[in-house]
């Protein structure tokens, strides 16, 4: 019963850790605006944490630059299971306008499995909320798989 309760609350309290892998700050600002009164992701239980150890959902923004690559990989490894990786904006999936630059070592798919993506440059907060909501479903599923 306890385990079932945990399963259910997995989707109800997803904590987000945000990694900026060389983003232009546009997506980062939109992610913060998700927590503002207008969009209020906290009513779904979202919370921004400051450390990967407490995160359930890792949100990555930015094309993966050479400078940030190692740090990104290291930080992603430090997130406990079950975890979901969300790519925010166009950059992490493709490199966007930075595609082909010598300073880019993307896309994010090369380094980790991306569960949910939200495209846009930058995405609208509603789209981010929708993506995060989708991520919570995946989180719950992963937890159930982990239990089996």
């Amino acid at each position: 019963m306890f385990e079932k309760m945990i399963d259910k609350s997995m989707a109800k309290s997803p904590w987000i850790f945000h990694i900026n892998a060389g983003s232009c700050n546009g997506c980062d600002i939109e992610l913060v605006s998700v927590l503002t009164p207008r969009y209020d992701a906290e009513r779904l239980g979202f919370r921004l944490t400051g450390t990967p150890r407490q995160a359930d959902i890792v949100v990555v923004s930015g094309p993966v630059t050479l400078q940030s690559r190692d740090r990104l990989i290291r930080t992603l490894e430090q997130v406990p299971q079950p975890r979901v990786v969300v790519s925010l904006g166009s950059c992490p999936r493709s490199g966007n306008v930075f595609k082909g630059s010598y300073a880019i070592d993307g896309p994010l798919e090369k380094w980790t499995h991306v569960d949910v993506s939200v495209a846009g440059c930058t995405p609208k907060p509603e789209a981010i909320v929708a993506a995060l909501a989708q991520a919570t479903q995946i989180l719950e599923q992963k937890r159930k798989e982990m239990r089996k």
């Binding site: 399963d7 609350s9 309290s13 906290e42 009513r43 944490t49 407490q54 406990p80 079950p82």
Partner: protein
């Protein structure tokens, strides 16, 4: 046998473990909703913190390379145990505490310290540099609120003892304080203690580590500070400790300044108690959270050692001169 059962009941149900957790979850949920409403948000569901706790229980617990396993895992648990023990000393219902002695206040003071110290030792054992910064801030915050807290404590004891002289041995007893209030009305109605009550209201959020004073757990500056390396079950216990601490501090204020009230019906008393706790949560935690930005650690220290300590000192001096 009966005594054992009673003790187990005290320990596990009321006013111990279950009641504490229930109140902690409710109050912290209420706090989050109230803050959200003051910011014109909808806010999370009332049981959000309970979900958080459960979720953390289900996560993987990573023990970092630099951590000392035993201390890392057991420090939060010991801290939580100490917190539950405090609740057993609080005579929240009819002046009867599950366990009472002649030194309640000092014991409570030190148990609260123990709770914080367990957090700090755990953070220290996790080996993270952020945790190191966090624990240093927590310690400075503790030094900050300790002075006003001690002054409040002394003025309350002085007030309750001063009017029945030669009852001296029971100076720091909460039961005594309750009985005094039952006879003379709640202490908050005595004007000489109003500054102390105000000071205590300021002490509560810092003791709990609520928003404007949560220098130790600043998410954005120092990556959750003391909890930087914590994940999974120990983190869940820390979160639970945080919730229960809100309840314990509210209940402590209730006992110190609003005690002695009793309608004779236990159920009504409990309802009144819960309502008072909710009000205190709103006043001391939600309102500053919604209104203030986080202080710097020097500012916290300055604020508590000047304004709040001055308030408490005024009370102490007034009480000392028999007012």
């Amino acid at each position: 046998m009966n005594i054992l059962l009673y003790n187990l009941f005290y320990l596990l149900v009321f006013p111990g473990l279950l009641f504490c957790i229930l109140m902690g979850v409710l109050l912290s949920g209420l706090d989050r909703i109230l803050v959200a409403r003051m910011q014109r948000r909808v806010g999370p569901p009332l049981l959000q913190n309970w979900y958080d706790f459960l979720k953390c229980m289900g996560k993987e617990t990573i023990i970092p390379r630099h951590a000392r396993r035993t201390v890392y895992l057991f420090a939060p648990v010991v801290g939580f145990g100490a917190l539950i023990t405090i609740s057993l000393f609080l005579p929240v219902l009819n002046g009867k505490a599950a366990f009472s002695g002649n030194s309640d206040l000092v014991v409570i003071l030190y148990l609260l310290t123990l709770v914080s110290v367990c957090g700090m030792v755990g953070a220290s054992a996790s080996g993270s540099p952020f945790a190191g910064v966090g624990l240093s801030r927590e310690m400075v915050a503790m030094i900050s609120y300790e002075l006003p807290f001690v002054l409040v404590m002394l003025s309350v004891s002085l007030k309750t003892v001063a009017l029945n002289p030669m009852g001296a041995p029971l100076t720091f007893s909460l039961t005594e304080i309750w009985n005094y209030q039952a006879a003379h009305g709640p202490l908050i109605c005595h004007w000489s203690l109003i500054p102390a009550a105000l000071a205590m209201l300021f002490v509560i959020p810092c003791e709990v580590g609520m928003h404007p004073f949560d220098v130790a757990e600043a998410e954005t500056e120092i990556c959750e500070g003391m909890l930087a390396e914590y994940s999974g079950k120990p983190l869940a216990v820390y979160k639970l400790t945080h919730m229960v601490k809100m309840y314990v501090m509210c209940a402590l204020f209730y006992v110190l300044f609003l005690g002695g009230l009793s309608t004779g019906m236990a159920a009504v008393d409990v309802v009144i108690f819960v309502l008072v706790c909710a009000l205190l949560t709103f006043l001391t935690m939600s309102l500053p959270h919604a209104v203030c930005a986080r202080f710097k650690v020097e500012q916290v220290f300055q604020f508590y050692w000047t304004w709040v300590a001055a308030l408490a000192l005024v009370s102490l001096v007034l009480v000392f001169f028999g007012l």
